[in-house]
């Protein structure tokens, strides 16, 4: 009986650990990057707000958070308006080229956590 419970426990724990490791789906959490530059476009939409950022090397698509979370964390559309300079810390996509998902963004000296 104890053995069986232990097996069930293991069965529940292993997939959870695997999923937790991949946390944000198709993003490479092992290699965080910081993308900094002016915001070129903004889509304040669900399921995730999106900005494009003109970094020195290229234009990045930066995936932010659902709009309700953005607002509740203090990042309404005006905060991420086109033309503002943003620094986004996050993880590059393993699927889409030049796309990253932001863990946090800093604009005008204010940092907002997006996870």
């Amino acid at each position: 009986m104890h053995k069986m419970l232990a097996l069930i426990g293991l069965g529940l724990a292993v997939p959870t650990a695997v999923l937790a490791h991949h946390g944000w789906g198709s993003y490479d959490a092992a290699h965080p990057i910081t993308v900094a530059g002016a915001i070129e476009t903004l889509k304040y939409e669900n399921p995730h707000a999106l900005i494009t950022v003109k970094a020195p090397d290229k234009v990045w698509t930066v995936t932010l958070a659902p709009t309700s979370r953005m607002r509740s964390r203090g990042a309404p559309p005006e905060f991420v308006a086109v033309g503002k300079v943003v620094s986004a810390y996050g993880y590059p996509s393993t699927v889409e080229k030049d796309e990253m998902r932001a863990e946090r963004i800093t604009i005008d000296g204010k940092t907002v956590e997006l996870r």
């Binding site: 999923l19 991949h22 198709s26 939409e45 669900n46 399921p47 659902p66 309700s68 699927v95």
Partner: protein, 163 residues
């Protein structure tokens, strides 16, 4: 948006309805929550129905459990399709190209075919089998297929976000 996505998916994603779902502060969230609530209705009815086909609740005549559970499952499926269509439309090009979504779509078709086939195959057996009497093997096969397909479908649904 995928650059090589079929035109009808691009049109769907750019439609007024899909834009409204993305731009609303509550529509996408509501569809997402509704999809999970509909899943609860659907899967609970499916489990009761399939458990009876597998021999559980033997004191109840099979038809008295399977038929109402099947109607409830059908309602759940309609609600899932309605909420799922909203989620799909909002991100049509991305989602359609997702390999896990493609597997999920195939599973849904298989699950519905299995349910329709079971409805035909088991109609007489349901009419004629009394409480405590065994159902034909076909009932067990359909039930196992149903549970396998629908649980796999649910797993794929959740896994779309990870691929």
């Amino acid at each position: 948006m995928l650059h090589d996505a079929p035109q009808f998916l691009v049109a769907l994603e750019q439609s007024a309805l899909a834009s409204a779902i993305r731009q609303s502060s509550w529509a996408y969230m509501t569809a997402n929550v509704g999809h999970i609530l509909a899943l609860m209705v659907f899967v609970s009815a499916v489990v009761v129905m399939d458990a009876r086909l597998l021999g559980a609740f033997a004191a109840a005549p099979p038809a008295s459990v399977v038929r109402p559970a099947r109607r409830l499952a059908a309602l759940g499926l309609v609600l899932m399709a309605a909420t799922g269509s909203m989620l799909f439309a909002a991100e049509a090009t991305h989602v359609a190209g997702n390999p896990v979504f493609q597997i999920k779509a195939v599973l849904i078709v298989l699950g519905i075919l299995n349910a329709l086939l079971a409805g035909r195959l088991l109609r007489e057996a349901l009419d004629e089998t009394h409480a405590f009497e065994p159902l034909p093997t076909a009932a067990k096969v359909c039930a196992v297929l149903s549970l396998t397909i629908w649980f796999a479908t649910a797993a794929c649904g959740r896994l779309i976000a990870y691929f």
